[in-house]
């Protein structure tokens, strides 16, 4: 029983890490309707930004979240404005190719600039310690990440529901043309939404930097799982991404122990397929008919 609870804890905390990465993806997915294959590489950029700020100025990763978020917002907005926007009226697969291209370019760009070396933030104690809770042990960094993922989802939800811009974003997500007829500047909203989705990765980078080193292909380690989570939770659904992350995290943890560490992907992909057969729009998807 003790082991089971420790596994559940590990799973939930892993879910928190996965959630903070998936939130941005589901935002972009749900609003701009673009499958951003470069999502993992934006995470990689964020991690390098956090690393550089730490290495050169000794800034703690949690403080580096602020500049990293601003930087990634700008990077995301620029990608939407200069790469996705010209392709908006093109077919979906063209946009996919474009994001895959950006992904490969960024990965090899990082390889060119930083080399394939594994780098990590140094000289930090806050966020790397282990917290004992009775017989159970968890990493303080993961605990903070978990809490922040809840805060981020709540904050974004509030923003989308209660502010003028948030409403415009939701209107655009529901129907691009109708929103435009109501006077929403759809192109600006798209740029904003893409930036916002990437900015979430800025938060993620700062939070996970104490736990994971950075290298050019680090994004590929997370991005496939993030896609599974986003589809599982329902495209564009924030709470779906949160629940999906926890579900995948727990399945990952339990399957790794009770079945086999190398078969955990098999288990969660089977569950993923099973859910999609019965609910093709995902757990919290808007259902058929949404754009």
């Amino acid at each position: 029983m003790e082991i089971f609870i420790q596994l559940l804890l590990n799973g939930l905390l892993l879910g928190g890490t996965l959630a903070i990465i998936s939130i941005g993806l589901t935002l972009i997915f749900g609003i701009v309707r673009v499958v951003n294959f470069a999502h993992g590489e934006f995470l990689m950029i964020g991690l390098y930004a956090v690393y550089l700020l730490n290495a050169h100025f000794g800034i703690h990763p949690y403080v580096a979240i602020i500049p990293a978020t601003i930087f990634l917002f700008a990077a995301g907005a620029a990608m939407q404005r200069f790469i996705i926007q010209p392709l908006l009226s093109a077919e979906g697969h063209i946009q996919i190719f474009a994001t895959v291209g950006v992904s490969i370019a960024l990965m090899n760009g990082a390889l060119l600039i930083f080399g394939a070396d594994v780098l990590t933030v140094q000289n930090i104690s806050f966020g790397t310690s282990t917290v004992g809770m009775g017989a159970f042990r968890v990493s303080s960094g993961q605990l903070i990440t978990f809490a922040m993922s809840l805060v981020l989802v709540a904050g974004l939800h509030w923003f989308l529901q209660n502010t003028f811009v948030g409403r415009a974003v939701r209107a655009t997500a529901q129907h691009r043309n109708a929103a435009q007829l109501m006077g929403v500047n759809v192109k600006k909203i798209y740029i904003f939404a893409f930036g916002l989705g990437c900015a979430c990765l800025g938060v993620a980078s700062g939070l996970i930097a104490p736990q994971y080193p950075v290298f050019p292909t680090v994004g590929t380690f997370f991005v496939l799982t993030a896609f599974v989570i986003v589809v599982l939770g329902g495209l564009g659904s924030l709470s779906g991404a949160l629940v999906g992350s926890m579900l995948i995290g727990i399945v990952d943890s339990l399957a790794g122990y009770y079945i086999a560490p190398d078969l955990k992907e098999v288990v969660y992909f089977s569950i993923f397929l099973g859910i999609l057969v019965f609910r093709p729009t995902g757990l919290f998807g808007a259902g058929r008919g949404s754009e």
Binding site: I3, Q6, L7, N10, L14, T17, N108, L111, G115, A116, D117, V118, L119, T120, T130, R137, V138, S139, Q211, Y212, P213, F215, P216, T217, V218, T220, F221, F222, T225, D252, S253, L254, A255, G256, Y257, A260, P261, D262, K264, E265
Partner: protein, 403 residues
């Protein structure tokens, strides 16, 4: 000038120009992953070859002609085939050197064999590469089986005696990344451990792309493993060390089989105190005694002069030593025809402890160097020091507060 002399002059010019062509550089192909995720160690391997070629050129080249090294980048098997085809058919290289990754080696050697061009493997470890009996494929470096032998030797000769326990009493867990590299070595480890009567309590494969190994560590903890053998890349090595610390799991010894365990970057990420007294079986590294590896400090100096930094791992050394063996054999060969080179390579005979990597050289009929061996090293104060075999050791093994 009459017509006759015109023809004569033309003939002279023609023959001069063909003899110039014949005196062009000797082309050698270098097939490595120089971009993509294998680039770090691919490039480190290539540097070893580069230094060996530079040395040979400084000593007069091959048969009095300079060697021209043609770089070919391949990140997967498909590209390796393409690169090998280009080297053998367009560039007409005399031989190909490679390749760090076994997957690349498998693919590229098929092509070079058909073209009848010698392929000198300096770093890929899969045993199967030389078990296909390809005529022109020769390998200087130790194989996966040698690595597994090293890890088992580490248990029986180092961990057992140091902790003053019978190795058979130790509970051994084998964990490995689940692709070819990890699976092959772990397979040999299992087999050899059984043959030695060791007690293997868990064998757990995992994906090298895993972002969480906590459940695997709980299983090791549950099995009360004393010794953990891990075969891994860099990311999963750092993940393992972070998470055993978080889980409060303290095995008596951790033994890695190269890969992530040999990298200076890994210890930087993990922290020197967290990797203290961890054992590592790999190609010989730089903290090796000159007594057991003549020429190693000269190589380290040449490396620093050329690249302006310390070597990033022992891959450059093993590639340098291998390349030197094959280049010397080519120089001694009657001609630069593939069969003559093969015969010359087959006649090389260097006793153990006769090269800068400590290993000896004697090629079997299948092209594998039978005197290739690994070294056992230990992380001490953030430095990877050779502790076994004794001739190459620079320090004593020490187990203190571990890990």
């Amino acid at each position: 000038m009459n017509t006759k002399s015109w023809v004569k002059t033309a003939c002279v010019i023609l023959s001069v120009s063909t003899s110039i062509a014949a005196h062009a550089d000797i082309k050698i192909g270098a097939l490595y992953p120089l971009s993509g995720s294998l680039a770090l160690l691919g490039d480190e391997s290539f540097r070893g070859l580069e230094i060996a070629v530079a040395e040979r050129n400084a000593a007069g080249g091959l048969k009095g002609e300079q060697i021209k090294l043609l770089k070919a980048d391949a990140v997967d098997a498909g590209q390796a085939v393409g690169a090998a085809r280009k080297l053998t058919s367009v560039e007409n290289v005399t031989a190909v050197f490679g390749s760090y990754s076994s997957a690349l080696s498998f693919a590229a050697t098929q092509v070079t064999e058909m073209a009848g061009v010698p392929y000198f493997e300096l770093g890929a470890v899969s045993d199967h590469i030389t078990e296909r009996n390809l005529k022109y494929v020769m390998r200087s470096n130790p194989t996966a089986r040698n690595f597994a032998e090293g890890t088992i030797t580490a248990i029986t000769q180092i961990v057992g005696p140091s902790l003053k326990v019978d190795p058979k009493q130790l509970k051994i867990a084998i964990i490995h990344e689940d692709a070819l590299y990890g699976t092959t070595i772990a397979g040999f480890q299992k087999q050899l451990a059984q043959a030695q009567g060791l007690n293997v309590v868990e064998v757990l494969p995992y994906s090298a792309k895993a972002v969480d190994l906590s459940s695997l560590i709980l299983r090791l903890k549950g099995a009360q493993a004393d010794v953990v053998l891990q075969t891994s890349y860099q990311n999963d090595t750092t993940l393992f060390f972070r998470q055993i610390r978080e889980a409060g799991f303290k095995p008596k010894a951790v033994i890695g089989a190269g890969g992530g365990y040999s990298m200076q970057d890994t210890v930087k990420v993990v922290g020197a105190q967290n990797m203290e007294s961890v054992l590592d079986v790999d190609f010989p590294q730089f903290q090796t005694s000159e007594k057991g590896a003549p020429g190693i400090s000269a190589f380290a100096k040449a490396y620093k002069d050329r690249f302006g930094s310390e070597p990033r791992s022992g891959h450059s050394l093993i590639n340098y030593v291998g390349a030197k063996i094959f280049l010397d054999a080519m120089e001694k060969s009657e001609s630069l025809e593939a069969d003559a080179i093969r015969a010359s390579v087959a006649s090389v005979d260097i006793p153990v402890g006769g090269t800068a990597a400590g290993m000896g050289v004697k090629f079997a009929e299948n092209g594998q160097n039978q005197r290739a061996s690994t070294a056992i090293m230990q992380w001490q104060d953030g430095v990877l020091k050779t502790v076994y075999p004794e001739a190459a050791a620079v320090t004593q093994v020490r187990f203190s507060d571990h890990p």
